[in-house]
Symmetry: C2
Subunit: 491 residues, 2 copies
């Protein structure tokens, strides 16, 4: 069946037959062949990869390996011992797979510790709120040891609630905030604008505490950043500017935010007790990015980087965010290794440490390796789910985009040949800022934020066929870029 | 617009113009008019009801009233003080609405008290399981006072887990169960067969404890009865047969059940500590069904009964199960009262006590009133959600079904004119067994079990337009049956 596809592909790619202008660093002598010709040479190996994953021994391996990893390690928040266990686990797995140059590169992580936490409505009626403290938040305890742990009682903060729908409303009613717990009930039309809504809503998670503190509030509770809820709180990173007192902050559920909005609308007074033992460990923690390669046969110093992040939040299992992403990144190499397929350029899988606190591990990786930026053809990050893939999100200049469009034809058998803009990822963004083209996985992730940063991020979210197809989309794209006669052009 | 509908309706119903054989008790003299003629006479009032709810002052009232009720009272489990508060609240509301004969009829309820509960996996790795003890379960404490409360420490039960996919598997492996915590991971294809799956899965909730106890198990954990989960446990009623020792039982999430299945599949030993303070109060509790009427102008002793249950589980807010059902039942009367529409036959709203423990309040109501069964034209119960309505589920003999088909034409403007079989409801079943035709609300409730008996059953589930249309479907059906020249025939 694939041979028919091959014939069509060669015909199609003939359109792209003339050599394109390329990045200055690369020898023009390498690119005497047209793109169609270059990709046609890769087709038999692409067919073999597709066959192995959809019909062969590799079918289901991505799901099974990810399940065993997440069931064994569980959640692995930035800076935690569990994340170091995950590092050891993956070094061991990738070594057993026979990948090249498997190693862990030391970095330092912050370590935020949740501890016990609760929020109880006392008025107008007793009600236990489902909460998740936001990552980075201070707790409600007054006594912390030098190492950061709370000691003594933690009676929590008991205060009246002020509900606002936006920062603008908070500003307009700022005189009411003093001594209150501010509840943000930022509404957004998630059904129709999920990406916009994530960006809009996440501001309240990030800056809600400081904006409330500015007007004298004692704590901030933030409607979870999601468009669907089964009374599910969603955590995530928050930050303090340092310009106002640090106050504790936690996510609440869509349901409770809406109920409190209705209650104040009826003129009712709401009183809540918030208790959080949370603290940031005072010392930086030793942590590691994990690296493995398939060395390039012709251009071993030139790199196509595939990546996802190894850390997760401290709830759920981090199967989707980002177990799926790092799994397809290293399994792309394992798949090729098992099939005896060697790339011309080095394919490097990097499993990042501490993405969730702002790309901490990847920033340190970039600092250590940025001198090599000229040797990177493409940086890839999968951190948007491994649902049924549709293709690749790509950011690069027009010549590179034209080449990527040709590569997408290899993915027609998977119905995953769409190329859009907006290649992205926290961890690859330093490289993209340095001019390296970037790619992420375009997939059917409409429900992504339903699970994101919550206890619902487990293996039950992951579909075995969808992750298999995501792996293939990822592997074939990387293999094709690694197999070109030249680095992807940057002009 | 409705006048066009009226003309069509009269023409359509002409087909049903001949008087039908009727229930023996009713005077044939009443039925000299054809059904079409009878219903056409009701059309102006039906139009007024539709207009008031979709475009007039009544628009949004169902949602607003239900929200205020559930926000104020919260969950109201059978036998609890909160359920008695709900009784007072609703007697007050319906009295203010000017309904007839508003009163509470005393019954007795069991009262199951959850108390604190937790389940923690100790091996193969630490993991907190999200659980909800099942209603009726004993706790894990050894010391209970005469009133039922636990006293002293409750160290819980720590035991190895045995995972089974079915009762058959448990029977086949029964020798392994002694001393274990049995985990039921009953899988079902919910996406394609939700009704079958509910029935199949709920057996494990109901009888899982006894079936495990039979083989010496010390506790049972049951995969929640749902087809979709965000790590959401769902409670529900369980029963003990009395023939084997009572062991504690709780629901776990789909995610955790599937994970434990995978772990044992890898040969791993799982150890869990289950703690439950749950107990059944030793004394029956005073409780009440709540009744209100619109007295019939011509046949005041003849009744069309509309109902839903006032109690809920002790989690979430019971907005869907069954706040929506009792709300559309009493609001059908309030709507007509406000519009000055009087039914020919008495319309009676009953808000049942303690449906969730097996129709306890409704059974006592039937015992008290069963002598009136001959006067009941139709018993209606809405306990399947108030999502967008499609029509009515009806159980009755062929003559009654034919008449109901005619009545459904009144619901064409709402796109809710479908009549199916299987009118049902725990609370109306005694009346249906006594021969009274029964009806329930056919609605778009595919997601019903996502929320059912969980913390996710809140106002966020309820759509304002859908509950308005459910109210209209419910009210118009009842009004039409109450306005016929005869009781619905039973032959």
């Amino acid at each position: 069946m694939w041979s028919v596809v091959l014939v069509c592909l060669v015909a199609l790619l003939g359109i792209l037959g003339t050599p394109l202008p390329i990045h200055g660093r690369i020898l023009p002598a390498r690119s005497h062949r047209g793109i169609g010709e270059q990709l046609a040479a890769l087709q038999p190996n692409v067919d073999a990869m597709i066959n192995a994953v959809l019909n062969g021994d590799f079918k289901g391996q991505a799901w099974d390996r990810l399940a065993e990893f997440t069931d064994t390690i569980g959640p692995r928040v930035c800076g935690s011992p569990q994340l170091e266990q995950a590092v050891d686990y993956m070094v061991n797995v990738m070594s057993k797979d026979g990948l090249d140059n498997v190693h862990a590169e030391q970095v330092t992580n912050p370590w935020w510790i949740r501890g016990d936490e609760s929020a109880v409505m006392l008025e107008p009626r007793p009600h236990k709120l489902a909460i998740l403290g936001l990552g980075g938040s201070v707790g409600t305890a007054t006594n912390y040891s030098r190492r950061g742990e709370r000691f003594g009682d933690n009676p929590g903060i008991t205060a009246e609630v002020m509900v606002v729908g936006s920062f603008d409303e908070l500003t307009n009613r700022s005189s009411e905030a003093k001594g209150k717990i501010v509840v943000y009930n930022q509404f957004c039309d998630w059904k129709n604008n999920p990406v916009y809504c994530y960006g809009d809503s996440v501001q309240y998670r990030g800056a809600g505490a400081d904006n409330a503190s500015r007007y004298g509030a004692v704590a901030a509770l933030v409607r979870s950043v999601t468009g669907f809820s089964l009374n599910t709180p969603h955590t995530g990173m928050m930050t303090y500017s340092g310009s106002v007192p640090r106050i504790p902050t936690a996510s609440i559920t869509v349901e409770d935010a809406e109920m409190m909005q209705r209650m104040v609308g009826r003129g009712q007074r709401i009183v809540v007790t918030l208790k959080m033992d949370a603290y940031m460990h005072p010392d930086p923690q030793v942590a590691h990015n994990v690296v493995a390669e398939l060395r390039g046969t012709e251009f071993p110093d030139e790199v196509v980087l595939l990546s996802g992040h190894l850390d997760s939040w401290d709830v759920g299992q981090g199967s989707m965010d980002d177990g799926g992403g790092f799994t397809i990144s290293y399994l792309a190499l394992t798949l090729m290794k098992q099939l005896g397929i060697a790339p011309r350029r080095t394919m490097r899988a990097v499993l990042w440490s501490c993405e969730e606190f702002g790309g901490v591990g990847s920033e340190q990786y970039f600092q250590a390796h940025s001198a090599d930026a000229g040797n990177f053809s493409l940086v890839m990050e999968s951190d948007l789910g491994v649902f049924t893939p549709h293709g690749i999100q790509f950011s690069g200049k027009s010549n590179a985009t034209q080449i990527m469009s040709g590569i997408m034809q290899l993915l027609v058998p998977l119905n995953a040949s769409t190329l859009t803009g907006d290649g992205e990822g926290t961890d690859i963004s330093p490289w993209m800022s340095a001019g390296v083209p970037g790619a992420s996985l375009l997939n059917e992730n409409d429900s992504y934020f339903d699970y994101h940063h919550s206890d619902a991020d487990t293996m039950t979210v992951i579909d075995p066929d969808a992750i298999d197809r995501s792996l293939l989309t990822w592997a074939i794209t990387a293999y094709a870029v690694a197999g070109l006669d030249f680095l992807l052009p940057r002009n």
